[in-house]
């Protein structure tokens, strides 16, 4: 175990995988100077500019070229900088990367990791704050990972790089400086296995990415009131851990799904609907209003789902 940040954990994961497998390479704008958040700092010095490759501002080519390079047996790690800019390369991801293996009858694979930092980050406004994980969960062929902790940002990124499917890998911009214990060396977190953040018998709360920490804060407060929260960090949205979620919701009889993304048609709907289909648990969702993210702090904060709202909803589900 070593104490390190979410950012450093991802960097370590990438460096380890690049040492292990010479076919792994990373490409994106500014990578040679460490990338926009410093996630790649120092890597070009170790691996050289071919494997830590700069790119023109050509998102369609960054992603599209990586599809070609993946079909040819290399394992590109693609940096999209902000998930918002990945919207400049949706054909390449959804029509090409996700479908190639199926369309071609299994002749090829697209082992590609698309890093798309998500989420609100103070005053980044409408085009630098989105969380569109629900979109990719809807697309056959894609894997979707949303790490919430440094340890997971190491273990999931390593799994993503070794995966033969295209993985949309969504780190939360606010989490870069978060510190935590991270296992050294070979630490692989499998896809589709959720993490029980804390155990409790009254309300199941399911979340992912930075919102897990908001929910943990709420759970702490609720514990003080005698409400036991079974808090589940989903880690990956596709595949997602139905077994843990259904077991927990059936046991507590109450499911609250909570995410930073817009509530309407968010991935919370999938979880709530699944639980409603398969258990008799009460279900509730918490997500952002259906509004773009604004710049001024009060406007931005108005669309955040805070710990108070989480706790209040859990309380009301308990009839309090």
């Amino acid at each position: 175990m070593a104490r390190m940040t979410y950012l450093a954990a991802a960097r370590a994961a990438l460096a380890e995988e690049m040492r292990r497998d010479p076919l792994v390479w990373a490409v994106g704008e500014d990578l040679g100077r460490g990338g926009v958040f410093g996630q790649y700092a120092g890597l070009v010095e170790e691996f050289g500019p071919e494997r830590i490759s700069d790119a023109p501002i050509s998102e369609a080519a960054i992603l599209g070229a990586s599809v070609g390079a993946a079909l040819m047996g290399t394992r590109p790690v693609v940096e999209m900088r902000f998930s918002d800019f990945a919207l400049c390369a949706v054909d390449e991801l959804v029509n090409q990367a996700a479908k190639a293996r199926f369309m071609f009858g299994g002749q090829g694979r697209v082992p590609l990791v698309v890093r798309e930092p998500i989420g609100m980050w103070r005053s980044s406004a409408a085009q630098h704050s989105q969380s569109l994980e629900a979109w990719y969960a809807h697309i056959p062929g894609l894997v979707v990972a949303c790490p919430a902790t440094p340890a997971d940002n190491k273990g999931l990124l390593k799994s993503a790089i070794r995966c033969d499917d295209p993985v949309v890998y969504m780190e939360h911009k606010n989490l870069w400086p978060l510190e935590g214990e991270v296992p050294e060396g070979e630490h692989l977190v499998p896809f589709g296995v959720a993490r029980r953040v804390r155990a409790g018998g009254d309300v199941t709360i399911v979340s992912w990415s930075q919102q897990v920490h908001v929910c943990a804060e709420a759970a702490e407060a609720l514990a003080g009131e005698g409400i036991g929260v079974d808090l589940i960090d989903l880690r990956t949205l596709w595949p997602w851990d139905r077994v843990m979620v259904l077991e927990s919701a059936a046991r507590t009889g109450r499911l609250l799904v909570c995410h930073e993304a817009v509530a309407v048609a968010g991935f919370g709907a999938e979880i709530a609907a699944t639980v409603a289909e398969h258990t008799s648990a009460k279900v509730r969702r918490l997500g952002a209003p259906r509004a773009p993210v604004g710049y001024a702090p009060p406007v931005e904060d108005a669309v955040r789902v805070g710990a108070a709202a989480v706790a209040a909803t859990a309380r009301s589900m308990m009839g309090r």
Binding site: P56, A65, L71
Partner: protein, 334 residues
């Protein structure tokens, strides 16, 4: 107006092979159209009838381990790359044993065994994928090259810019070929394309570009040989603009009423197989030999079509195979 052919020097046996290949392509597409008319082929077919010299002249110069990326109008390219005609027809008919197991159809035909990395249903999308395939070749220090063929309409899509710039910046081994048949679906491409054309655009990225009569197999062949040698020599990307004409409608279902019959009739006189035959006749190949080329091609394709027609459809469970390793496609459905 085709140039005077009488004084041209060429390798007769090579041209004879190309003549055969062009006939095989034409026969295959005629079979596909027949399948369409008879409702045996159910998806769209984009024939390249009249454009065969591009397929034969460009792709015929690739090694088996070279990589090809093509378009919705890619039957000719695919056959020229070495795909099996029966496997192709099985794919067009959606049958077991198709190159993609019947799951792709005409617009997604691919044969990785012969380096054919896929047609594409999205215009221009293959350009960036091709750049990336070449990128992998460079990273792996291999000596093969990539060839990417696209239409004249594709040069108006963003990936054209991004892919060409990418290939030039990274000095990648790729030959871009703009197969210009004058049309983007029902639209005369020239009406929606500004500037002096594909080669000029390519040169704006510092890419050496040549222009050629795409119905003249000798010219295409010669240009491609020269350009490919430069690409193989590590010179980075090269570009070829080959002008041709689409003798059919955009798809098998398009009667193309938007262009005068006289135009089509005039262009038919310049179609590439006839021109190749004329050259061969001039070099002493007799009419019977040429007719035999056509007959052999048609026989091959007829047999392939019958076999494809007789083959079963894939089973329904194929719908859930080769989706991805992780997660079940059936979770949450039905």
């Amino acid at each position: 107006m085709p140039p005077d052919q009488s004084s041209r020097n060429f390798d007769v046996s090579r041209l004879r092979e190309q003549h055969r290949l062009m006939w095989r392509i034409r026969a295959l597409e005629q079979a596909a159209l027949r399948g369409l008319a008879e409702k045996v082929v159910l998806g769209a077919i984009h024939p390249s009838i009249g454009q065969e010299a591009v397929a034969a002249g460009v792709v015929g110069n690739l090694r088996r381990d070279d990589i090809l990326l093509s378009t919705h109008r890619g039957h000719g390219h695919t056959l020229a790359k070495g795909a099996d005609s029966e496997a192709m027809l099985r794919e067009l008919l959606g049958r077991v044993g198709g190159t993609c197991g019947g799951k792709g159809g005409s617009m997604h035909i691919a044969d990785f065994q012969v380096g054919m990395l896929g047609a594409n249903g999205v215009v221009g999308a293959n350009i960036v994928i091709a750049a990336g395939a070449a990128h992998a070749i460079k990273l792996r220090r291999e000596d093969r090259v990539v060839c990417c063929i696209f239409g004249d309409g594709a040069i108006n899509r963003g990936p054209f810019l991004e892919g060409l710039n990418w290939a030039a910046v990274f000095g990648l081994p790729v030959l871009f070929v703009c197969e210009d048949n004058g049309f983007a679906a029902t639209t005369r491409t020239a009406s929606m394309t500004a500037g002096a054309g594909p080669a000029t655009r390519a040169r704006a990225f510092g890419i050496v570009a040549e222009e050629v009569d795409g119905n003249d197999i000798l010219a295409v062949d010669a240009a491609v040989q020269g350009l490919l040698a430069q690409v193989r020599g590590g010179g980075g990307p090269r570009f070829l603009h080959a002008s041709t004409y689409r003798l059919t409608g955009h798809t098998g279902a398009d009667a193309a009423p938007y262009r005068p019959a006289e135009e089509v009739a005039a262009r038919r006189l310049e179609e590439p197989i006839g021109r190749a035959a004329e050259l061969l006749r001039g070099a002493g190949v007799d009419a019977a030999a040429l007719a035999a080329d056509q007959a052999a091609a048609e026989a091959e394709i007829a047999a392939a079509y019958e076999a494809a027609f007789a083959a079963p459809y894939p089973e329904a469970a194929e719908a859930f195979r080769d989706v991805q390793d992780v997660g079940s496609p059936l979770q949450g459905a039905f």
